[in-house]
């Protein structure tokens, strides 16, 4: 009998050892060996109201566990943040989530590092077109939806990549992070977003006077060159709008520089005044342009021969479009178009004419020249876009970064506009004279264009978040003042159908937390350790009887008294 007991006892001991080892494994598996908490810069989705309807992400603060796209199906995500890198983003999945109003704790989209204007540098983007289309679609979806949870954008870096890999590993094991299973916790401690009170739009105008001889009784005619400089995008802290409309601003500055060179010498000063306008409020039906024009003197408005508006001329190959609202048969339109086509032929590029009638009752203003046309000033917009953009489209979004702009295109655009303007001013129509020839002192300066484009590609310019004395606006004013005779700044309030909310960027803290189960297990282990220690010490110093007597004291007392 003793022999049969021994193997049984051994098996029992082995089994208890296995359970101890299993317990140890569970303890270790609950929490991995840690990294320190990571902190990442994140940028919030825009939050705005249009005619009272809410759009965008309505919340800013975040304090939830994180999960990746590999979460086990059927799990409740209302207290979880989904972290999705752009390359794994499936638009239909996101669209389904938003349209069916499925509950979610938060959404974090990871953008590739090359798109970051702080760290991406000028690296080439792989699969440009695909990424651009994906980003454009995502942006369109997010801007026009009402999302009741925080949505943030962040750029990938090593830290967040390791965190994401960890989260994916945990999710694949079937253990999404909750309070009882540990994992990663994303915390963004910001206050509730508040409305931006009376957002300002700042219009900057520069005036270059023409040569007035004694014989001129009337005011000289004026030509206006206008570009809107503000942007709108899904992440306002990232809306740098290199093409829309950074390219326009840069072209306007370069044209003003060239003509300031010409006009500085009275012998070469033209008989036309030049009015340069850097307007704000572009994405909001060119509200700023309208207010700027309304502030004009009646005489000034009547003296404007025509206006050229520049909108997105940074990423075209061979064809530019001139958008007009007056019919192409109109004499003035014909003149403008012919002037530009002649120069275009010489520069080996094409210009096409697009006519879009304006509907006075429709408040939608798709092109800047329409604001001029509504006040009966002849105007045209020069753009690479052939299709009229919708509201809040092509206004400088997530994909509109430096890598998508080609400075050679801008140089050619500047040449086109400057030459045709000069030929009109100096009366050289039809003659093959190159005023701004390469290698001359009046050549278009690519370095100037490049440096300003770089600056613009690092400055987000969403109008409600630019204060009255914003340093960038002041820099634009200063630059324009260096090229023209007189600069004026006009501040207007952005009223109308749009209301904006603040809190555009924040800092995300990532913590690796232990589950409640782990803490309870640890408590159990420590409790048993202390009990074992206690018993060990009592046995060695006082003897086993004393240990037993600790638990049996009352009965022994009773026995004694009895």
């Amino acid at each position: 009998m003793a022999n049969s007991k021994k193997p049984g006892g051994l098996r029992e001991m082995l089994e208890s050892m296995y359970s101890v080892i299993a317990l140890l494994f569970i303890l270790v598996a609950c929490v991995e060996l840690c990294d320190a908490a990571a902190a990442v810069d994140v940028y919030r989705l825009i939050q705005y109201d249009m005619s009272g309807s809410p759009f965008g992400s309505r919340f800013a603060a975040l304090n939830h566990h994180a999960a990746s796209l590999h979460f086990p199906p059927g799990v409740d995500l209302s207290r979880t943040v989904l972290i999705i890198p752009l390359r794994e983003l499936n638009i239909t999945f996101v669209r389904e989530y938003i349209n069916q109003k499925k509950p979610l704790g938060g959404l974090l989209v990871l953008l590739p590092e090359v798109l970051s204007f702080k760290t991406g540098g000028n690296n080439q983007v792989h699969e440009k077109e695909k990424m651009k289309n994906l980003l454009a679609e995502l942006e369109r979806l997010l801007i026009h939806s009402n999302i009741p949870y925080p949505v943030y954008f962040a750029f990938e870096n090593d830290e967040i990549d390791t965190v994401l890999a960890d989260i994916k590993k945990n999710d694949l094991m079937g253990q999404p992070a909750t309070a009882t299973t540990g994992g990663y916790k994303f915390v963004i401690p910001t206050a509730e977003p508040k409305k931006v009170a009376s957002p300002t739009m700042t219009n900057i105008q520069g005036w270059l006077s023409g040569l007035k001889t004694d014989g001129d009784a009337n005011q000289l005619p004026t030509i206006a060159i206008v570009a809107s400089y503000d942007t709108f995008g899904a992440a306002p802290a990232l809306s740098v709008g290199s093409d829309s409309n950074g390219s326009g601003i840069v072209a306007l500055l370069e044209i003003s520089r060239l003509f300031s060179l010409l006009y500085s010498n009275p012998k070469t000063r033209g008989r036309y005044n030049l009015l340069f306008g850097l307007t704000s409020g572009g994405p909001y039906n060119y509200n700023g342009t309208q207010k700027w024009l309304r502030s004009f003197d009646q005489r000034l408005r009547e003296s404007i021969d025509y206006a050229i508006c520049l909108n997105s001329i940074g990423s075209w190959d061979n064809e530019l479009w001139i958008h007009v609202s007056k019919p192409p048969e109109n004499a003035y339109i014909k003149q403008i178009f012919e002037g530009l086509s002649n120069v275009a032929e010489e520069l080996d590029l094409k210009v096409g004419l697009k006519h879009k009638k304006i509907n006075i009752s429709n408040p939608r203003v798709a092109w800047e020249h329409e604001q001029f046309s509504r006040l009966r000033v002849t105007a045209a917009t020069l753009s690479e876009l052939s299709v009229t953009p919708e509201l809040l489209e092509s206004t400088g979004g997530l994909f509109d970064t430096r890598q998508y702009v080609n400075e050679t295109a801008i140089v050619r655009g500047v040449k086109l506009v400057a030459e045709s303007l000069a030929r009109h001013i100096y009366g050289h129509q039809g003659k093959n004279i190159q005023i701004f020839a390469d290698e001359s002192s009046l050549a278009v300066n690519p370095a100037y264009i490049r440096s300003w484009l770089d600056v613009l590609s690092q400055t987000p310019r969403v109008a409600p978040f630019l204060s009255k004395d914003d340093p960038f606006v002041m820099a634009l004013k200063k630059e324009l003042a260096g090229h023209v005779d007189e600069v004026n700044v006009q501040h207007e309030t952005l009223e109308g159908i749009f209301t904006f909310y603040d809190s555009t960027s924040a800092r995300l803290n990532i913590y690796q937390v232990a589950s409640v189960t782990f803490d309870l297990l640890l408590l159990l282990v420590l409790g048993s350790y202390l009990i074992v220690l206690f018993s060990f010490l009592v046995i060695t110093t006082r003897g086993l009887d004393d240990l037993i007597s600790l638990f049996r004291r009352p009965p022994s007392r009773k026995l004694k008294t009895a």
Partner: protein
């Protein structure tokens, strides 16, 4: 949840001291006053050590192992030994037996050490959201330190309080006391020089403390054996009629 973690680490760091006090006959002999006095003496020696370290030690930029600096630190560590000597011999204790005295002094010493070195980091760090293993390892280190302090107190009491010891054991006693006294310097070599990670260092500390405790226990009982009849036995038992 994070206060929970703080609570767990606190009972790991300070629990064994309380358990030791209540489990052994120390609680019955009411040696709390001795422990408190020993803790105060530790505070004093810590201050003196601080001043000496600040005066004589140079702060190195890198975390490498500098033998000269470590030697200086070891010499300053002997101030610890002086403090223990003071606590064991000069403080007037009530009439308690010798082996209880060294246990009480060692306990008070270790408790003060844990409170001074580990309470503040624990309070500040363990309550945060982020989980690290550091505080649990720190608690294990506190346990090792408790064992080491009691062995050092035991050897100290052997050296200074016991008048008649077997001649052969005296050099061994002094050697062990020297090793235990310079244990901090010995552990800093693997920590800095070999670049071990914290868990390995803590394991090493636990192992060495258990080894030294075992050796000092053997030495103590070896010194006691010839005089078992004269001195009070290690197993101190009150008559059962006193248990109320």
């Amino acid at each position: 949840m994070t206060m929970f973690h703080f609570f767990n680490c606190a009972i790991l760091t300070f629990g064994p001291h309380a358990v030791y006090y209540s489990a052994t006959p120390l609680s019955e002999c009411d040696t709390l006053g001795t422990s408190v006095k020993a803790a105060l003496v530790y505070l004093g020696t810590a201050l003196v050590k601080l001043v000496c370290l600040a005066t004589f030690l140079q702060v190195s930029e890198n975390d490498g192992f500098d033998p000269y600096q470590e030697l200086l630190k070891a010499l300053i560590g002997f101030i610890d030994v002086a403090g223990l000597y003071f606590a064991l011999t000069q403080l007037t204790h009530r009439n308690i037996s010798q082996n209880h005295k060294f246990q009480a002094v060692g306990l008070g010493w270790a408790f003060a050490d844990s409170v001074l070195h580990r309470l503040a980091p624990l309070w500040v760090g363990a309550r945060g959201l982020e989980f690290t293993w550091d505080y649990i390892l720190q608690g294990l280190e506190a346990n090792a330190n408790l064992v080491l302090s009691i062995s050092l107190a035991a050897l100290g009491s052997l050296i200074w309080l016991r008048k008649n010891k077997p001649k052969t054991l005296i050099p061994i006693i002094y050697a062990c006391a020297g090793i235990v006294a310079t244990m901090p310097s010995i552990t800093s070599y693997p920590r800095r020089g070999l670049g071990w990670h914290f868990p390995k260092v803590v394991g090493f500390e636990l192992f060495t403390s258990l080894v030294m405790a075992f050796i000092s226990w053997q030495l103590f009982s070896a010194c006691q054996r010839p005089y078992a009849a004269l001195l009070s036995p290690m197993k101190f038992r009150l008559p059962s009629s006193f248990v109320v």
